[in-house]
Amino acid sequence: MTVIEARGLRKSFGATIALDGIDLRIEEGRILGLIGPNGAGKSTALNAILGLIPYQGELRVLGRNPWSERDQLMRDVCFIADVAVLPRWIKVSQALDYVAGIHPRFDRAKAEAFLAKTTIRRTSKVRELSKGMVAQLHLAVVMAIDARLLVLDEPTLGLDILYRKQFYDSLLNDYFDRSRTIIVTTHQVEEIQNVLTDVMFIDRGRIVFGCSMEEFESRYLEVMVNPERLPAARQLKPIHERQVIGRSILLFDRVDRSQLTALGDVRTPSIADLFVAMLESKPPHQPAAPQGATV
């Protein structure tokens, strides 16, 4: 079942083009990482998917038009973002009362059970909680909602590593199942690499790359090449080369592992490395090769 389908999705703010014709298709049960530099259009794409901004082009989320049907859509979609802050004046108990009051798919007992594992008191106001606790509260509310799509836009920004780890652990262990779909953007790519099932790169309003993590792991290999094998390695047409402490690390696409092991230490690259490689190897303003992506 397709959760999100976009064709020719465009959005501009004045003269700035934030989304430049995006085609994408996201199936149910995936955890998609949307990776891109600042200003690439990640948040704009997510805001369009959530019905928070108008856009041009075709976009269906769970079969609905997000702009005209935002309130119905939000019964099945949850959103945690660094920018979508909980109001500072609300008490924890009030937040639970309110969401229980308006959300038909909210299970209060679940939220209470999650909060019981934290040090958050029901009588506290959000302004009295630390940033990490606010994130926990928001996560408790969202995890208690039986939603089909969860959108996370820099959900762990400004949290320390302990909270970040807990955040993704809870999400995977207590929330995710194959009937849900999660889209996440973050700059801490390494932390979520093993969480994702799919990855998509976005740059200058376009999707420049997209594949599943299985494909990623089978296609891309990184080799720390011994200096004397460097010319031989370069013969195999690495897509990127970088120097780390006097040694060369070459990134290969679709090159047989057995060929590479002779050259040096072989390992799966990190998403961040591939991302940097792809952006550096592409001269600016050149249309990206894969126009669309299906995951």
Binding site: D71, A84, I90, D97, Y98, P104, R108
Partner: protein, 307 residues
């Protein structure tokens, strides 16, 4: 699902998986409830005004028996609504009016300023429900709240006055409150609902629209455009219809009577019934204008992002 605090939870358990059955009044109810959590001044201010008045009234009671004797009035004959009861009503009314105006100007501005608007929008509550729930506060709920607080204060005042008279051995109206009490209560309720609620609705609608629209200085945006219209009209046509229209509306539609009855005078003079106001076309054009303001506010909120 165990929403212990919700009276509707049982009916929801049976309907899990059928969220479409959720009644549309529930998000509205909780949206209104939310406003009272956020803007506690909505009920704190009238209660504070009432307490303040009661404090002053209790001090004044010291002289009550002496005054009664001097005037030679039989307390039985004492009109229920003396000076102080009117003052009490006016004080609370003025307080809630100010609260209502400031609330309306902040209602759709505050959620963008503190960036919580994206959180609210991530929940299944439409912009229409949100704006209507915020508009219902000054138009319906504050008038009712003002009424409740005023009546409670009146009853306390009567009881206290009677207690003082009783303690000093004077006879007291032991019967339940005078018939004038009910008459005045009804008059007050009518005045609050029709004038403070419906007749002032365009003011609240305008302020809500500005609060949804302004990126900064919402107060100036609320004040300056009407002011500018008045100025331009004065310069261009040497007339002041717009200004007098605003004055008429703020005066509670009372300029056509011979007396200079304002919204406040309506209450002071039980005989001046504002019955006519309900059939006054300006009330209905005002409500039509309010509808337009609110409809625009809904559209604006849909497009707006945090400031």
């Amino acid at each position: 699902m165990s929403t212990a605090s919700s009276p509707f939870s049982d009916s929801f358990n049976s309907q899990k998986g059928a969220p479409a059955a959720m009644s549309s009044s529930r998000p509205f109810y909780w949206s209104v409830q939310r406003e009272f959590w956020e803007y506690r001044s909505l009920y704190v201010a009238p209660l504070a005004a009432a307490s303040l008045f009661l404090f002053g009234f209790m001090i004044s009671l010291i002289h009550l028996p002496a005054r009664m004797r001097a005037a030679g009035v039989d307390p039985m004959q004492r009109e229920f609504l003396g000076e102080s009861e009117n003052m009490a009503a006016l004080l609370i009314m003025a307080t809630t009016l100010i609260v209502a105006l400031f609330y309306s100007l902040d209602a759709l501005y505050g959620e963008r300023r503190d960036r919580s608007i994206l959180f609210w929008k991530s929940l299944p509550v439409s912009d229409l429900t949100t704006v209507l729930s915020k508009a219902s506060i000054p138009i319906f709920i504050l008038p009712l709240l003002t009424f409740a607080v005023t009546i409670a204060l009146w009853i306390l005042m009567v009881l206290l006055a009677n207690a003082v008279l009783l303690a000093t051995g004077m006879s007291v109206a032991t019967a339940p409150p005078h018939s004038s009490f009910f008459q005045m209560s009804l008059g007050l309720l009518y005045h609050l609902m029709v004038v403070h609620g419906l007749f002032y609705a365009p003011f609240y609608g305008w302020l809500l629209l500005v609060s949804a629209w302004a990126r900064r200085a919402a107060f100036l945006w609320a004040i300056l455009p009407p002011f500018a219209i008045g100025i331009v009209e004065k310069i261009a046509f040497n007339t002041s219809y717009f200004a007098s229209m605003l004055g008429y509306r703020f005066g509670g539609g009372a300029e056509d009577s011979n007396s200079k009855a304002t919204g406040l005078a309506v209450l002071l003079m039980p005989h001046f019934t504002s019955d006519q106001l309900l059939f006054n076309p300006s009330l209905w054009t005002g409500l039509a204008v309010t509808t337009i303001f609110l409809a625009v506010a809904v559209r604006v909120r849909r497009n707006r992002e945090p400031i």
